[in-house]
């Protein structure tokens, strides 16, 4: 069923009784050409592009909970392509282009809003760093604009510009960045994949990876054994546990990141604004709630909840950047389990186990990468070759010394 203004009108006039479920709920088949573990954004996008770009439709996505129940439904919905390093920027640039055409492509309202992303700077050194980053982005074909203090004031007048410790001197603006409805992205890809014949199997937890002669032949699941010719892992925070089933250790630690939403306000903050004096970012959802977050809780965790110490520091950052939010009530906070890699960049690669492929290490930047991650992972699964845009995201880059370390923190997962 195609969604359109006409279909809404037609269904509205007939009491909304004719809507179909957006996807089937099939029983698992005995064998698939490709099984993808993880029914989040990346897994669903991979299944969609496998079917669409490569014509491979005998595909199953196995999800232990319900579709989109992990990080794709728990993030702060920011879409941007403002990376510095060569290995990263072209990939995220491609992702942003896919975002721009996503709703037409999927016939689904993902509420993509290119409202602009502003990274504030508070010192001369930071200004230089952002000028350099902006230039790197422009060299990669992205848009970037270095704004001065008055230009930022015009856009976001309510910042604490004259803070004695962290005065706002300006910001780096990417106008094509913005936000998207996170659930909508998962649902859109799910519907698109399903309509092309992909089986989306929910409440199906993978408990083991069966190998014969060094090759993957299938997965043990809570719904029985399912055979496959190729297996792709897109399990985000649980990547380490799934990889362990195949006897692998990963350069990844799972850590908890919290996010917050306030009560609904009238239109207040038009862009996504990030603080340069602390790790903090804020935007406003279409419902009116301020959506914001800060840094990790810093310790390993598989629990989707965080600590009050981090809540306090995030609130302090919020009030330091935008003093007028000090009396706004926070409605809810939640945590997601991040697959923090040792250099802060992702991994899309084959593994030492034949026919086993890996997509992980997204740290807390996985949401914006969803389309390109699916695009490149599908290419890898279909052709066995690494996609040009993901050629830096190799698993062996750590042992070969080709880390992509945007922040320059070294092999300490919680600092990325």
């Amino acid at each position: 069923m195609k969604y359109s203004a006409f279909s809404i009108l037609k269904q509205g006039l007939s009491g909304n009784k004719g809507w179909q479920p957006a996807w089937r709920e099939p029983e698992p088949k005995a064998e698939y050409d490709v099984i993808i573990v993880g029914g989040g954004g990346h897994g669903l996008a991979t299944a969609y592009y496998l079917a669409k770009n490569h014509g491979i439709t005998n595909v199953a996505v196995l999800e232990k909970g319900y579709l989109g129940s992990g990080n794709v439904g728990r993030n702060t919905t920011i879409v941007r392509a403002n990376y510095l390093l060569e290995g990263n920027e072209p990939f995220y640039s491609h992702s942003l282009r896919l975002w721009e055409g996503l709703e037409q492509e999927l016939n689904f309202n993902a509420m993509m809003s290119q409202r602009g992303v502003i990274n504030l700077y508070h010192s001369d050194g930071q200004r230089d760093a952002y000028a350099r980053r902006g230039n790197a982005m422009r060299l990669a074909g992205e848009d970037a604009e270095l704004l001065g203090r008055e230009e930022v004031r015009e856009l976001v007048p309510f910042l604490d510009f004259d803070n004695p410790r962290f005065p706002v001197h300006g910001g780096l603006m990417q106008r094509r960045g913005g936000t998207a409805r996170h659930d909508g992205v998962a649902w859109g890809y799910a519907r698109g994949a399903d309509s092309r014949g992909v089986d989306l199997i929910q409440n199906c937890e993978v408990t083991g990876i069966r190998r014969e002669g060094g090759r993957v032949v299938g997965v043990e699941t809570s719904r029985g054994f399912i055979g496959c010719k190729k297996l792709g892992l897109a399990a985000a925070g649980n990547s380490g546990r799934v990889a362990e089933m195949a006897g692998m250790r990963l350069p990844v630690e799972s850590q908890v990141l919290q996010a917050f939403v306030s009560e609904g306000l009238k239109p207040f903050i038009d862009q996504v604004v990030t603080f340069g004096a602390a790790l903090f970012y804020m935007s406003q959802s279409d419902k009116g709630g301020l959506v914001f977050g800060g840094s990790l809780d810093m310790y390993n965790s598989y629990a989707q909840r965080g600590n009050l110490q981090t809540v306090e520091s995030v609130m302090e950052a919020a009030c330091a950047m935008v003093p007028s939010v000090s009396r706004v009530k926070v409605l809810r906070s939640w945590g997601g389990v991040m697959d923090m890699s040792m250099d802060g960049s992702p991994i899309i690669d084959r593994t030492p186990v034949e026919d086993l492929y890996l997509n992980c290490g997204w740290c807390y930047g996985g949401f914006k990468a969803t389309p390109a991650s699916g695009w490149c992972f599908a290419h890898l699964l279909a052709t066995g070759e690494t996609h040009e845009l993901a050629k830096a995201f190799r698993l062996d880059r750590f042992s070969r010394g080709y880390q992509i370390d945007e922040t320059g923190h070294g092999a300490q997962a919680n600092l990325h």
Binding site: E244, R249, E253, Y299, N300, Y302, A303, Q309, A411, N414
Partner: protein
């Protein structure tokens, strides 16, 4: 994350006084060790879901490094050992690998520990 950690030197203190470094399981290889051993030490992690040993520093207290055994799913803290004692246990010495945290001995013990540090 549990809100209290029991320091073997200072007693039960709020978690905010402690700073985490990370996984305490990887053991630094010998200087002449093979490259693969160094790669595994620096990069590869078990990424445990369940009880895990971690290095924490009591940065807002006695400043000793501690090995905290903590559950990464329930966030419960099971045992706290001084890192030096833990290392002796690892090396096969007399110290236990991880012993249950002692009850609070309050400021007196903290002062005594500090005094020893300065001596």
């Amino acid at each position: 994350m549990a809100s209290l950690i029991t320091c073997p030197h200072c007693g039960t203190r709020p978690k905010e006084e402690f700073t985490i470094r990370g996984d305490a399981s990887p053991v630094r290889p010998q200087l002449g060790a093979a490259f693969a051993a160094w790669d595994a030490y620096v990069h590869l992690r078990d990424n445990v879901r369940g009880p895990m040993k971690e290095h924490w520093q009591h940065s807002g207290g006695c400043r000793r490094w501690l090995v905290v055994e903590r559950d990464t799913f329930s966030h419960a803290v099971h045992a706290v050992t001084d890192a030096a004692e833990f290392a002796r246990g690892q090396a096969g010495g007399p110290g236990p690998a991880a012993k249950p945290a002692r009850p609070a001995r309050a400021a007196k013990a903290a002062t005594a520990a500090k005094g020893r540090g300065q001596a």
